[in-house]
Symmetry: C2
Subunit: 253 residues, 2 copies
């Protein structure tokens, strides 16, 4: 099995490393910035290519791991490719590849950072394809990397991506707000780190609704009022505080 990687960011890097670990041959890496392609190619023992004309037409897969809004135009440059072409986006429709013979989606549902290793075997990979045969091929590739491979159509994948924004991106922003509050009062973010980890660990085995704590779910108006007073000089934070508290109150069991 031979794979070409298009892209050299977080997702491309982690997929490339996982492929290599799984014994799948990554033959080529292309990136908008050639030096980035070279860096990743070195990591995964592939060739960096500067020109898409040099694409290895005998490869089985071409994995496009680039910004969502660049996928369509990239696809247009790859129309000669005869293998299976996939993208790794949660938000882009399968139909972006219409016109290709064999195509699909290979969406690893995780947050990747260059600096942090990840156990890819625990990363859910959501796959989709234009035919059953292609789906089987993509599934075979995905199962080399992860224990959790699931077929999910474009519409549901978009919901999944949206749910991930709430559970990951927005959550991280709440961590950032918390860190800012602490640092502006000379307090150490380490005080909150164990809490952050425990909050995430708790919902690994139960439903978040069952473990909701805090003043809003208790309807503890006095504490909420005190908190709003502490935020008086940050109207944007009061706004977030109030809207999330209201939302928690409404979902109370």
């Amino acid at each position: 099995m031979k794979v070409i990687l298009i892209g050299s960011g977080n997702v491309a890097t982690h997929i490339g490393l996982a492929l290599k670990d799984a014994g799948v041959l990554v033959t080529q890496v292309w990136s908008k910035q050639y030096d980035h392609a070279q860096a990743l190619a070195t990591l995964v023992s592939a060739d960096a290519i500067e020109n898409l004309n040099k694409l290895d037409q005998t490869a089985d897969f071409c994995i496009i791991a680039i910004k969502d809004d660049a996928i369509l135009s990239m696809a247009k440059e790859l129309t000669t490719f005869k293998g299976i072409i996939v993208h790794t986006s949660g938000a882009v429709d399968l139909t972006v590849f219409e016109g290709f013979e064999k195509y699909g989606v290979f969406y690893p549902l995780q947050t990747f950072s260059i600096a942090k290793e990840i156990d890819f075997s625990t990363v859910p990979i959501c796959i989709e394809a234009n035919t059953g045969v292609v789906l089987t091929c993509i599934e075979e590739l995905a199962k080399k990397l992860s224990r959790y491979v699931v077929e999910i159509g474009s519409d549901k994948r978009k919901i999944l991506h949206l749910a991930a924004v709430f559970a990951c991106n927005f959550t991280n922003h709440l961590y950032a707000i918390s860190a800012d509050l602490l640092s502006s009062h000379g307090l150490d973010f380490n005080l909150i780190r164990p809490l952050i980890l425990e909050t995430a660990e708790k919902v690994q085995l139960t439903s978040p609704k069952n473990v909701q704590t805090g003043p809003a779910v208790r309807n503890d108006e006095r504490t909420m009022k005190k908190h709003e007073e502490l935020l008086l000089e940050q109207p944007q934070l009061i706004n977030i505080y109030q809207i999330l508290s209201e939302s928690i109150k409404k979902t109370k069991k």
Copy 2:
């Protein structure tokens, strides 16, 4: 060292168990509901008491782990106690104990659930006291339970509590929103669980701002617009989506 526990909820239970594990004698447990006091007393090998008149006046500590707004009235019932009286709240001022001879705060900064064990040695305990001598005694007790004991005054403790609401309570609510989105589309919350854990693990070693991902920080208006369309029938979620996205955009590096 002898300790009395007032309360039988999540915090009282976990403190009681941690004290027992640390070899500290819990002699009595009182709770508004006597059967709850009995249950916890059994767990920690203490006596349940029904009447506060029966309080062991020779105990070194009385730890009040009850609802914030019940602490003041509880304190008024305990004025005869001659040991050190502390509460475990993040939001209640030290002055709630004015009139006592020896008093303080013993605030374990963690989210506790009856059903889930916790390694108390990693839980930050924020302490405060009315005198230096009392502080030393509280510190000695706290260090038996945790490796991370820190003196924090009432004003800063309130900020800490507020930061915890953002990092834990609000975060858990975002998990709940995510779970609801998934289940309403027949998708499994297990797809998101690894992401939730990784998001929390990521900030254990870095600052949340450094690892912010998602459409808002990329200013990816197209994806954000699509997400809002998916939420059309849930105006409350659109509201949360927009406010958090705006806030992320503003904090962009």
